[in-house]
Symmetry: C2
């Protein structure tokens, strides 16, 4: 990207479609992204900006001139604006808010008034409502009059005189009805969510049921906004990435991999790795306690990596399954006993199978009593690991901590230390050391 | 669920909304689900059936009477029918297909003709097309005439005389336009995907760009179907679950946790666990090779679980980040060199930090030379683990294997054995054993 090439680059990139440009922007490093962005024509620049994730938008806001960002900010929909504001430092955020005209500022401030992570921040405050006594023709007319200002027109909530949601009509139903047909006879029950509910929960429910949109109501069931499927998809992608990362013991990057600086990659991993490393010093202590046993029967040391490896894997498997079920709302924290008994049975069966195998192999290559120790240890470790792996995420969810925080590495480390104790206790008992 | 209670249950459940019933069905065991389902009124039963995932639908089909399922099958949309058929054994599938009327059967067979996992099986073959020379009024009229038979009416592809897609108009644009305005002046470029493309790739692209729908075309760019966002969401939820499971070393359950029999939980984990256990016997062999070293300096054994634990975690972190980036299409297999150098730098920096810490601790509690061994080993293990964790999923993706198959447990096991070798080689060199 030499200076003399910039005009050539500018000519070329302005021929591309927004989707292609987004792809390019997501692969560029931080500085280059801002340079290339400034080469775009104004309309194209706006479309690209709208398509970027809020984190990348915020990176750009930092890099651009003040008056450029004010314009961009004005063009965004209120809920997209809130996404971006959540990423910006307070001073920049309030400067941008001051740049809005009164109506827009009021709508945006209302959304900002809802608690962080609530669906209130993600809904659109612009929608068309119908009344039960409207005719289909009146309804269609209302839609047509607000076509330019409103974000979503395909889902039309029906409210009574107290602004309470009594149902919803789709634009499709309205088009298919006779002109004189009453909305009352057309409308169907609709999914609603309360404005303070967690964004992830509402997004999951919306996506699960294949709903095109849901009505968002306050605690007196009065309509305050509409939440659409495309926003649900955006939230879910974000949450999925967070869950997947945490389960692997990494803080979420929030940026595409190639446009994340290496220093940020290191930071996203270091804290967790340090916590796990400190946890792992437990295993050194356990090993030290049983040092005599190890020295007396040195063959025991050979199996240490195998046993804790299998224990860690069994724990991971259970944690993965249960964390996913919690994320999908397939189980609730109150199901903890059912989870425990299911994992106990699962772990025990896996332990019997692997224990039998381990017994045979250790017997064949070493001795009968070594075989018995390995077999029994595998049985015990698998059972314990599956229970721990299943129960820990459920407890986390009960105390409202992200279950994915009790990540696989975390469970491995915990199971490692426990597994070693089980191993040496069994070994001592059977080998009578 | 005693016989005498069934009538009471029947009365109660028929008062519930479909969404509540779905929640209940997803928590019931296999047999109970079929019993409760038969108690539902016909209309309600159909709505619940439509809302269930294809796997649960297929469970129900097995449990219900032949003529009941034929009715249900007729009511489904063509693409939903294909989802279900994919789950059923061939004999049941062909019986159900025979029960369809000619038009429906033809549409369904066309979809079934596309390769498994292609977007062709997931698109809707029913849509309304416009021509560039239509006026807005003509367009609206076309939509209204097909309102009852077509699945999606909000996205309207525009085709030329050769059925090639030249753009798309939204129902909203059509409503906002003057009656005489030509479609040509209204239409905008639209995202298209080829019918043989992978369903996950197209679903991800659709969701990413917040598109409401995309046009599906054949290899000559002629329109053959429309793929909508709600189906994209369904595919992505399914694929996410698959990725998350595989990364934890579990075969996907495909059913809600509580309605999966324990025997199936065991089966979903056993194969992987066995593969990993066999892999882990490698560590026993490595340990056996270095048995003399271990006996000579018994303090070395104490650090084995710690070192392989940290190595495994570093590998997991890299694999998690890179696998996610591959799933989101943030990186492609051809980026493998960039991934390698980034992970090399990241792993090295993490290794320097943890190695320094390990050196200090081991020096303080044991001896200087032990400290040097531990410090250098941590540096080497972190670097190698990050590289392996980053490169393996990329290679998998290049040879078109699901990167998540090189799951975290898989990488842990691999890194365990490598880490032990590194440890003992360094120890021998420095302690001069």
């Amino acid at each position: 990207l030499h200076k003399e090439h910039l005009t050539t680059v500018a000519r070329q990139i302005n021929l591309l479609k927004p989707a292609q440009l987004l792809k390019i922007f997501e692969r560029l490093s931080h500085q280059r992204r801002a340079i290339v962005y400034r080469l775009l024509d104004k309309d194209l620049a706006l479309r690209v900006f709208e398509g970027l994730s809020p984190v990348l938008q915020s990176d750009l806001v930092h890099a651009l001139q003040e008056h450029d960002t004010t314009d961009l900010f004005n063009e965004l929909a209120p809920d997209d604006r809130v996404w971006l504001l959540d990423e910006l430092p307070a001073t920049v955020a309030s400067r941008l808010l001051r740049g809005l005209d009164d109506d827009e500022r009021e709508e945006t401030s209302t959304l900002l008034g809802y608690p962080a992570d609530s669906i209130g921040r993600r809904m659109s405050p612009q929608f068309v409502t119908l009344r039960p006594w409207h005719t289909a023709a009146e309804g269609l007319d209302r839609v047509q009059r607000r076509l330019d200002t409103v974000e979503s027109v395909y889902y039309l909530p029906v409210i009574d005189s107290g602004r309470r949601v009594v149902g919803a009509v789709s634009l499709r139903q309205l088009l298919g009805a006779d002109d004189a047909q009453l909305v009352e006879t057309l409308m169907e029950p609709t999914m609603t969510a309360e404005v303070s509910e967690d964004e992830e929960v509402v997004a999951r429910r919306t996506a699960r049921r294949g709903q095109f949109a849901v009505s968002i109501v306050d605690h007196e069931e009065r309509l305050v906004g509409v939440f659409t499927l495309d926003d649900a998809v955006r939230i879910l992608e974000f949450e999925e990435s967070e869950d997947v990362s945490r389960q692997g013991g990494v803080e979420p990057l929030r940026r595409p991999y190639l446009s994340t600086p290496v220093s940020r990659l290191v930071r996203s991993r270091f804290t967790w790795l340090l916590v796990l490393a400190i946890g792992a010093t437990l295993t050194v202590q356990v090993m030290a306690v049983f040092e005599e046993t190890l020295e007396a029967v040195s063959v025991l040391a050979l199996f240490v990596p195998l046993l804790i490896g299998i224990g860690g894997n069994t724990g991971n498997q259970a944690a993965t399954t249960v964390t996913r079920a919690l994320a999908l709302d397939d189980i609730q924290p109150r199901d903890i006993l059912r989870v425990f008994t299911r994992e106990l049975r699962t772990g025990f069966m896996l332990g019997v199978a692997l224990g039998a195998l381990g017994f045979l192999i250790a017997w064949a290559f070493f001795a009968l009593n070594v075989g018995v120790v390995i077999g029994l240890t595998l049985l015990a470790i698998c059972t314990v690991a599956a229970c721990v792996g299943g129960v820990m995420p459920t407890i986390a969810s009960a105390i409202r901590v992200d279950p994915a925080v009790f990540s696989n590495p975390f469970i491995s480390t915990f199971v490692d230390a426990t597994g070693l104790i089980i191993y040496f206790v069994i070994a001592r008992a059977i080998l009578q050391i």
